[in-house]
């Protein structure tokens, strides 16, 4: 009997479980293999939709579904909070429940936001990295009548690198439509020396920022908030006043991974091989998605393209054969849509050796993103795309 244990019911965990169930169906049926997913809430949340709660009339209840309904019937779901992992005994302990043993462990535990890492974040800044926070941002925008809006990034790494720039574009378009644009200064703070990390995207985005009158502040990594003066400060030593402050909160990996000695503090990102996705050189532990320390976008797309690699490696081990490197090596593939406002978007697609060459923004890629968001439940987690 081989026991496959997957921690996390997000994109990576769910897709890996379903792919494994499909590839190993005969062995599962024969009782030779078990596949178990442990998820803290039992609810699968489509996080890319949060931005649209703030910017596009999306509703939080449309962005989550029961994890059970997305999983293959051959996969067991355990709803519970993980307390620790002991690689020596191949055991996972739950806060409330019996320990679970494994032969192969998949860590699809995502990232978590830690706004509390920055003093006054909770009272001074808005964000869109939870459904609740996105709704609060929507309310703040509804009551906004003009002034300085500052959009910045308060930690590295963070989920969905294009998101803050997308939000800047979308807010600008909204303010124009509401007749508030000439009463508003918009400031976008980029952590690096250009508007966006990918040079070709930056070259595309910079004239759009200029055309939209969004002031670009380069090398501005948000470090602190002075609540008394309503000023945000950068680790490079500059500051900007605001009336409405929108910040990407700091992110970390899961605390239990640090406590278990699998991920180093303070970030908590799992040391993951860029090709095999093995953690810390261990042949029986894999990681994918946000949880890894790979230099890649923390985005569902990354997990989506990593899941088949983890699947192939585990299936090969279970079947006692060598890995098919065509399917079992991750080449760094990521693909995501990028909104630029006014109903237009583009597509970013790249891997370790091929930089992105985004097409000229048009309505098609914006519609592509909308369609992808709406059809997600029937496609990605079930391995249909």
């Amino acid at each position: 009997m081989k026991r496959i244990l997957i921690l996390g019911g997000g994109v990576g965990g769910t897709l890996t479980a379903n792919l494994l169930a499909r590839k190993l169906r005969q062995r599962v049926k024969a009782g030779e293999v078990t596949i178990t997913v442990v998820d803290q809430t039992g609810k699968h949340v489509y996080q890319p939709g949060f931005m649209y709660i703030a910017m596009g009339g999306e509703r939080a209840d449309k962005l989550q579904r029961p994890e059970r309904g997305l999983l293959d019937s051959r996969v067991t779901l355990v709803v519970g909070e993980v307390e620790s992992v002991d690689p020596a005994t191949q055991t996972v302990s739950l806060v409330d429940g019996l320990p679970l043993s494994y032969d192969y462990l998949v860590l699809a535990t995502g990232s978590r936001i830690v706004p509390e890492a920055i003093e006054h974040f909770d009272t001074e800044a808005e964000h869109f990295y939870t459904a609740e926070a996105a709704l609060e941002l929507r309310k703040a925008l509804d009551s906004f009548t003009g002034g300085r809006i500052v959009i910045g990034i308060a930690g590295m790494p963070y989920k969905c690198p294009p998101a803050p720039l997308e939000v800047a574009f979308l807010i600008e378009a909204e303010l124009r439509q509401r007749g508030l644009r000439d009463k508003t200064e918009l400031h976008f703070c980029s952590p690096i020396g250009r508007a966006f990390t990918i040079e070709s995207v930056s070259e595309m985005a910079t004239p759009i920022l200029e055309a939209k009158g969004i002031e670009l502040h380069t090398f501005f990594n948000v470090e602190a908030i002075d609540a008394d003066r309503h000023v945000v400060q950068s680790l490079e030593g500059e500051e900007l006043p605001y009336e409405l402050l929108i910040l990407v909160p700091p992110h970390k990996g899961q605390q239990f991974l640090m406590d278990s000695g699998l991920a180093p503090a303070p970030g908590g990102w799992l040391p993951t091989d860029r090709a095999t996705l093995q953690v810390g050189g261990r042949p029986d532990i894999f990681a994918l998605g946000d949880a890894t320390d790979l230099p890649l976008s923390k985005a569902g797309s990354t997990a989506h393209f990593e899941a088949p690699v983890v699947t192939e490696r585990i299936v090969a081990a279970v079947e006692g054969r060598t890995v098919d490197h065509k399917h079992g090596d991750y080449l760094g593939k990521v693909m995501c849509f990028f909104e630029i406002g006014d109903g237009k978007g583009t597509l970013l697609q790249f891997d370790y050796t091929h930089p992105p060459r985004p097409p000229k923004p048009n309505q098609l890629w914006h519609l592509g993103k909308i369609v992808f968001n709406k059809t997600y439940w029937h496609t990605v987690p079930k391995g249909r795309v």
Partner: protein, 83 residues
């Protein structure tokens, strides 16, 4: 009284080869944020733009650029977090 000799901190390696998003500079900023002053960080970058944008940021943020060394297909850029 005994003097304590502190060994130089082990350089932290950030392998950002093939990173287009978030990119080598973002990976360095992450490492700087996570490190204590005095930590030396070696960034591996296959993006030729890093040769200019990393030193620019290091200067702006007040850290210290130790060296930029061309390797086989990538650059090794070594930085010390000073504060």
């Amino acid at each position: 009284m005994t003097d304590t000799i502190t060994a130089p901190a082990q350089p932290r390696t950030v392998d950002a080869r093939g990173s287009y998003c978030p990119g080598p500079l973002m990976e360095l900023i992450r490492a700087i944020r996570e490190s204590a002053p005095g930590q030396v960080i070696a960034v591996y970058s296959s993006d030729s733009g890093s040769r200019t944008d990393i030193p620019k940021w290091v200067e702006k943020a007040g850290h210290r650029l130790i060296e930029v060394t061309p390797r086989d297909g990538y650059d090794e850029i070594v930085v010390e977090k000073t504060h």
